[in-house]
Amino acid sequence: MGYTDGVRERFSRLTHAAQPEDVPDALGEAGERAHGACVQILAWQAPGGGDGRLARVRFRALGCPALLVAADLACERLEGCAPAALAAIEPLALHAELRLPVEKLGRVLLVEDAARRCLEALRAQQGN
């Protein structure tokens, strides 16, 4: 497992992992559990009719450490952002920041897909 100390440290904490009982405003999912890699991005908007910023962003994931830490870092960065940020994740930048092995880029792309779907879910909910 060619992970840096930083990745190992983040993996040991995963501060942005969702709790099983969490019910978000919107949820986006990518990957397949049957293939051993799936991730969900869960988002809550600030209550009280504010500017709609993401008050809380969490993840659920089944997969390798690269997937878990990429999701954790993405959630950390998304908190406090406008919802459009969910569609603006830069997977190459995440991959580089975490100094993940090159073969793990696909896992970071899953995080990007899940975040985009989360935004779609959020907008669909608001359109209803």
Binding site: M1, A17, R33, A61
Partner: protein, 403 residues
């Protein structure tokens, strides 16, 4: 993260030196009278070293029911495997060019077989049966007129499944084909008596039973000796079969370790069998646990291989940095390949990838395994809580059981 003192449960990879072995090796290293080349029998110092080697050779032979002149020292079981497979096949090529082995052998055998194929040999690689063992009938069916060697491991290094080498050897003996057995995971742990077994070549080492790395032996019958060719040349040591200056302290350490292991073998077998069962029961409490090792007499008490539902193997291993444990076998871990052995047991790729091989040794006790179980259960709980919800609730599965 616990970088400090991990709980060591990787004894199938290697073991710490026993204090008695350290003392025996130190006694040789520190004794100027034993510094000479044991091949230099023209002077008294060389003869002293040679005598120490001879004593160790006899001790090692005694552990496996052989005579001292059957023991050829090597650098370890990998070299012994190479010497047996390549040496016998090449030395018997005038009789035939077919070798039988299994798909679940150690890479020291599998890669040697690949080499033989490139040299024009034909190789039959048997599939393991249920529980990962090679079935006697499958071996009998695979033998041909031109078969010159059968090579099978005694104990599977991933699951601990024990091959019936007595019955497999009888099949080979009836067919007049020499049997090579890789006993790296069994010597000093299971009874091996070459006087009663139809085994012609036996690869052994000591570092799985608290002996030194870097030394091993190939124990072979006179008939096998007549068929085998050396891989190395120059010097004439080990009757020309494995030239090179013997390291007296290594050989002495190997003998000490094997003698100690043999003395403790029956007691350790019973003790570890009980500990292994208790450890499995503790792990099974997590639910979604699959035991990939035979838990009865068909499995080595030194190895417990377990897969877990609902987690990715790589994450589980990283979450268990406080435990020195192997994912499948060490060689599979290095290559990143899924375990063929576990898939042959019917495990999915995901379960095979999520397998942990816990392996036990002399230092393993109840309190250590209790700590390890707590760490594993804690890591499983944490990773499963993070995972998206699955369907069915976790259950427990045991190798060989239906379903």
């Amino acid at each position: 993260m616990n970088e400090a003192t991990p709980i060591y449960l990787d004894h199938a990879a290697t073991t710490p030196l026993a204090a008695e072995v350290v003392a025996a090796m130190h006694a040789v290293l520190a004794d100027p009278a034993l510094c000479a080349n044991p091949s230099s029998v023209g002077h008294v110092a060389g003869r002293r070293a040679a005598a120490r080697i001879a004593r160790a050779r006899a001790q090692i032979a005694g552990v496996v029911g052989a005579s001292a002149d059957q023991v050829v020292f090597t650098s370890g079981a990998t070299e012994s495997d190479n010497l047996a497979v390549l040496g016998v096949a090449r030395g018997s090529a005038w009789r035939g060019r077919h070798v039988v082995s299994s798909k679940t052998e150690h890479r020291a055998v599998l890669d040697a077989l690949d080499r033989l194929e490139r040299e024009g040999f034909s190789v039959t690689r048997l599939d393991p049966g249920p529980l990962g063992r090679i079935e006697v009938d499958a071996l009998a069916d695979a033998l041909r007129e031109d078969t010159v060697l059968v090579s099978l491991m005694h104990v599977n290094n991933e699951t601990g499944a024990v091959n019936e080498i007595a019955a497999l050897g009888e099949v080979c003996r009836r067919a007049g084909v020499p049997l090579h057995v890789d006993a790296a995971q069994s010597v000093g742990k299971l009874p091996i008596d070459l006087q009663s077994l139809s085994v012609d070549l036996l690869s052994i080492n000591a570092h799985k039973v608290n002996g030194p790395k870097g030394v091993g032996a190939l124990v072979l019958t006179p008939a096998a000796r007549r068929r085998i060719e050396p891989l190395l040349f120059g010097g004439g040591q080990e009757e020309g079969l494995r030239p090179g200056t013997l390291a007296t302290h290594q050989v002495v350490g190997m003998a000490e370790a094997l003698v100690l292991a043999e003395q403790r073998r029956e007691r350790e077998y019973g003790r570890l069998q009980a500990l292994r069962l208790a450890f499995w029961e503790a792990l099974a409490a997590a639910g979604g646990a699959w035991c990939n090792s035979p838990l009865d007499e068909h499995g080595s008490p030194w190895i417990l291989n377990v897969s877990f539902d609902g987690v990715a193997g790589e994450s589980l291993r990283l979450a268990l940095e406080g435990i020195a444990v192997s994912g499948g076998s060490a060689c599979n871990s290095a290559s990143g390949e899924g375990s063929y052995v576990l898939r042959s047991l019917g495990r999915s790729d995901l379960l095979a990838e999520a397998a942990l091989r816990f392996s036990f040794g002399r230092e393993t006790d109840e309190s250590l395994l209790a700590r390890a179980a707590v760490e594993v259960l804690s890591a499983l709980r944490r990773l499963r809580r993070i995972a998206p919800a699955a369907g069915d609730p976790p259950t427990v599965h045991i190798a060989g059981a239906s379903g």
